[in-house]
Amino acid sequence: MVRFLLALAALWTSGFLVRVAIPEQMQRPENQAALEVYEDKPATSLVGEFRNGLSSYLWAKADEYIHGGMAMRPMTDREKASGLAGASSGDNVECAHEGETSVIPDATQDTRGILGDWERAVKPYFPVGGHKHRPLRETLPLYRFMTWAEPNFVPGYVIGSFVIYASDHNNVGEMISFLREGVKNNPTSIALPTEYGRALFTKAGLTGPAEHYLLAAVRNAQRPARNEFEKDSIVDAYRWLVLLYRKEGRADLAFKWAQQGIQRFPDDPVIAHTIEHHGEDIPLTQSD
């Protein structure tokens, strides 16, 4: 026990010393001053690249974990043109497989003969059509590590929180605390306050704080989104804000935000539905 506590103390001390010894290298590029440091100090940029690279590696590794170690890849143009069936999920795990196939080719597509058979036997491999996934909880450590390595890695927090909840529906508190950490580390993100607000609203029933974070997400969405992941979350921010107001019976506020949302997303059914039925008592449906 004493040895364990000593090891723990050593880990914490080394983490503290790293921050003291290289404060500039530990800065995150989230404001102008920090960005300037990144431009002036190559070491900071290198440490940043390392953190980013590590989190991207762990992100890819998480996909391998739920496929039992089997690596997937995007289909080539030739494969798409030939009408080759891509990967598809055969269970209830939500996993994006569009245009993907396995790195190791299927026996029917493989011309390597016995070498191909050997590879399919010794490496994790299964036919990708309608495949099953391993328990999501096995990827939990990876999401924890990738967000430790790179606290600005927003998809890590968003998908990680989903994995925490999906692996056990009793983990609402843990999911919320994981998202809270993400929001704290990424105050300008759109996706994180949206997810945090959604979790508070739908899983914890805390509409007040949920409203606060969904409004923050919409506010953040006034600035250009950093990447596609963030951009895709803008519509969700409007949707959940509208749904929250509808649930609370605050029809005017729901209509106000739906009107703002419809200007950016004219085809969104949830927002359009709210505008069409303004003034009516619209119950939340399963599709909402």
Binding site: F4, A7, L8, L11, Y65, G68, G69, T76, R78, E79, S82, V103, P105, Q109, T111, R112, G113, I114, L115, D117, W118, E119, A121, V122, K123, P124, R134, R137, E138, T139, L140, P141, L142, R144, F145, S167
Partner: protein, 258 residues
């Protein structure tokens, strides 16, 4: 044959003592313990579901360190005899160059396999201590990896008579760790037929497939054992490949001016 075995035995004993003296094995044992115990310690920081992760780290550490050790051990067998000029008293005895090469390969192979088994036993013991099970495929992993180390030792010993030690170790590390990656390049030209397809398949067959002897990923994700026919055919491929590499080395070594 008996004489060849006696020569090999003498080389093996000397090689084992040399490896113990150099303490390479101790270094990798300590590193393995640190890596696996480090991965396990994340559990104390509230990270759950670490079983697969710890198995992954353990198998990766065993695979990486045993490969590096094998290349380091096999890569120094012949060049050090030449550099220390201890090859001359050997050549003065009634020992053929083929026997020297074979003896050096067996020395490197047996030493590497022993190091690998020690590493694997340590990894298994750590996993047991952490209460993490491994399936029966682990024993197939041990068997195939040993065949892979025979093949890797043969390649390293063979190339050591063509290149400088530094170049040889670099090339062998690239071939061993890159085998799973650059064979993918040939797969990207899928769907080719005729002469192009045949050439690509020929090229694929020529490329080293050290990764075929590694069941580490399947052990990590607790896959069921693989068929005995596959294990036996891979063992035959590995042993045949080893002798092919030794043949390549002997082509140069038999007439090399020492």
């Amino acid at each position: 044959m008996t004489r060849t075995m006696q020569i090999c035995k003498a080389f093996i004993v000397a090689g084992l003592l040399e490896t113990l003296r150099r303490k390479d094995l101790y270094v990798v044992l300590i590193l393995t313990v640190l890596m696996v115990a480090g991965a396990w310690m994340f559990g104390f920081f509230g990270v759950r579901g670490l079983e697969v992760f710890i198995r992954d780290v353990t198998l990766s550490a065993i695979g990486v360190f045993s490969t590096i050790l094998t290349i380091m051990i096999a890569g120094r067998q012949v060049p050090e005899e030449i550099a220390r000029k201890t090859i001359y008293p050997l050549m003065a005895r009634p020992i053929t160059r083929w026997q020297i090469l074979l003896g050096k390969w067996l020395t490197a192979s047996i030493t590497s396999i022993l190091c690998f088994l020690v590493l694997a036993a340590l990894g298994r013991a750590l996993l047991m201590a952490f209460g993490i099970p491994v399936g029966p495929i682990f024993y197939q992993y041990l068997l195939l990896k040993q065949v892979g180390l025979l093949w890797l030792s043969a390649m390293t010993v063979a190339l050591s008579v063509y290149m400088t030690p530094a170049a040889n170790i670099t090339i062998c590390l690239i071939l061993a760790f890159g085998s799973g990656i650059f064979t993918r390049f040939t797969l990207l030209w899928h769907g080719e037929t005729g002469a192009t397809g045949a050439s690509l398949n020929f090229l694929y067959g020529l490329l080293p497939h050290y990764d075929f002897f590694d069941l580490g990923a399947k052990v990590t994700y607790a896959w069921p054992p693989i068929g005995a026919v596959i294990v036996l055919s891979l063992a035959a491929y590995g042993i045949l490949g080893s002798f092919l590499w030794l043949g390549v080395g002997w082509l140069r070594f038999r007439k090399a001016v020492l």
